[in-house]
């Protein structure tokens, strides 16, 4: 009973907050172009749902492609770093430098160098998203239990057997944690890139919808796009969390 109440609590709070918001907007007669209430936002979505849905699809496409590329890049780099200390020493500082440089500052360069708008956005999002996968997976691979490593060697295991039957399975939880962080970062990266690139010609994603709506002072529509982005972020986080639980379910059972 108590657990049920606890699991429902966030929804109850959300409903309360929305109701309070709407009530305040009505009671204080705040005009919608300053602060729209939830009802105005829903109306704005219904009004412009074709454009907004298309924007969502475009942003999701960039996010998905970026997450896929970031996963591959992070995994490959982590494996190479685990295999070769020299490679690790050479790459690690650069990975950190790319990570700490704000993508907003990098994006204009990428827009100049990469002509294809979609690829340009994906590259920006990958730069934001790949690091957690890389660092988590690398840490997981480095933490292979040394005793088991000895056991594998005593039984004549090859490098590949050690990698696929020992190191990678041990690094799986760390990789999945990295993936969950990277998933939301890929969305952040896609949005930032759209903001920077939006005026540069590639105009279709949700972030661009926010910019465009702001030019036209369509505040409720701005909010609608913002809400869609928030929900998308939560959905990505939840989906990757579910994937994590499914993949790790086996080892948590007795």
């Amino acid at each position: 009973m108590r657990r049920m109440v606890e699991s429902l609590a966030p929804y109850g709070f959300g409903a309360l907050a929305l109701g309070g918001w709407q009530g305040a907007v009505w009671a204080l007669h705040v005009p919608a172009y300053v602060m729209p209430g939830p009802a105005d936002i829903v109306a704005a979505y219904i009004d412009a749902h074709a454009v907004l849905d298309a924007g969502l699809v475009a942003t999701l496409a960039v996010t998905g492609a970026a997450l896929l590329a970031a996963t591959l890049l992070g995994l490959v780099l982590a494996l190479l770093m685990a295999a070769s200390p020299l490679f690790r020493a050479a790459i690690q500082p650069w990975a950190v430098i790319i990570q700490v440089t704000p993508v907003v500052a990098l994006a204009p360069f990428i827009i100049i160098w990469v002509n294809q708008p979609f690829a340009c956005l994906v590259i920006c999002a990958v730069i934001v998203a790949f690091f957690p996968i890389l660092s988590n997976t690398a840490a997981g691979l480095a933490a292979t239990p040394p005793d088991l490593l000895d056991l594998f060697r005593l039984n004549g295991a090859s490098r590949w057997q050690i990698l696929f039957q020992l190191s990678l399975p041990y690094a799986l939880p760390d990789f999945l944690t990295g993936l969950r962080i990277s998933g939301t970062l890929a969305l952040v990266g896609a949005v930032v890139a759209e903001f920077v690139a939006g005026s540069g010609g590639f105009a279709s994603g949700l972030a661009w919808q926010i910019i465009e709506a702001s030019y036209r002072l369509e505040i409720p529509r701005m909010f609608a796009a913002l809400v869609m982005l928030g929900v998308t972020g939560i959905a990505i986080y939840a989906a990757l969390g579910l994937l994590e639980r499914l993949l790790l379910a086996k080892r948590n059972r007795a």
Binding site: P145, D147, D150, L151, L154, G156, A157, R253
Partner: protein, 247 residues
């Protein structure tokens, strides 16, 4: 016959862990390597297993040098080191799997190894569902499944509670009596060494040397722990340490 010839080991850090260790280990012996922490017991075990190369001397097998073949050495660590995602049977299967033995061919061997440690009923249980003692049993079964010619154990019972430890000691003794395996068992417990082994190599503090080589033959059976021979042996070993340990 395993021969250790004036083995020395200096690590890259400059630590001289072993210096001039010589011994012959005959088939079927249950050898306890006994010594204080840091005297090089684990190092000696790793040299025996071929996991580490000696910096002096050599380890010979029936006269010829060279690393042991895959699966010829069974190794049991202080922690059970089971793979958490695999069942007990899958964990025991590992040494055979690494040598590409099919699961079907391996099945009877896995079953036999699990039966030897009394865990037949837990073949499909994952480590999370096993107690510390049971995990250690699985670890021992895993070491036995490849039918090694030498079983090396590095303080395998040190992390267990006393009741479980006594039970596993008795079971290991029974297993040794039944199979005649050659066992080298590292411990820093005088009582454990005296209770289990029929030969005790007492090691001096760093750099590790063999300070005494004691033979024992205690009566098998329920009164072993209370036998006068056992008490006398503990006394003898304690005497050795009085001589080699600085006061």
């Amino acid at each position: 016959m395993f021969t250790l010839e004036t083995l020395a080991k200096r690590y890259d850090t400059g630590v001289l862990a072993l210096d001039g260790v010589s011994a012959d280990i005959a088939p079927g012996e249950f050898v306890a390597l006994l010594g204080p922490s840091g005297c090089g017991k684990s190092t000696l075990l790793r040299l025996l297993a071929g996991l580490e190369a000696p910096s002096g001397g050599r380890v010979a097998w029936d006269g010829h040098t060279g690393a042991p073949g895959p699966g010829e050495i069974g190794f049991v660590f202080q922690d059970a080191t089971l793979m958490p995602w695999a069942s007990a049977a899958e964990n025991v299967y590992l040494p055979l799997k690494l040598r590409h033995v099919t699961r079907k061919l391996a099945a009877p061997k896995i079953a036999a190894a699990l039966a030897q440690v009394g865990l037949s009923a837990f073949a499909d249980t994952r480590p999370k569902g096993l107690s510390g003692g049971m995990k250690m049993r699985v670890s021992i079964a895993r070491a036995l499944v490849s039918e090694p010619i030498l079983l090396l154990m590095d303080e395998p019972f040190a992390a267990l509670d006393e009741f479980t430890r006594h039970k596993l000691q008795d079971d290991l003794l029974a297993l040794w009596a039944r199979t005649g395996k050659t066992i080298v068992f590292v411990t820093h417990s005088i009582y454990e060494a005296a209770y289990l082994a029929n030969r005790i190599l007492v090691m001096s503090p760093r750099p590790g040397r063999i300070a005494a080589d004691l033979r024992a033959s205690l009566p098998m059976g329920p009164h072993r722990r209370a036998s006068g021979d056992y008490v006398a042996l503990v006394e003898r070993i304690t005497g050795c340490f009085r001589e080699i340990m600085p006061a």
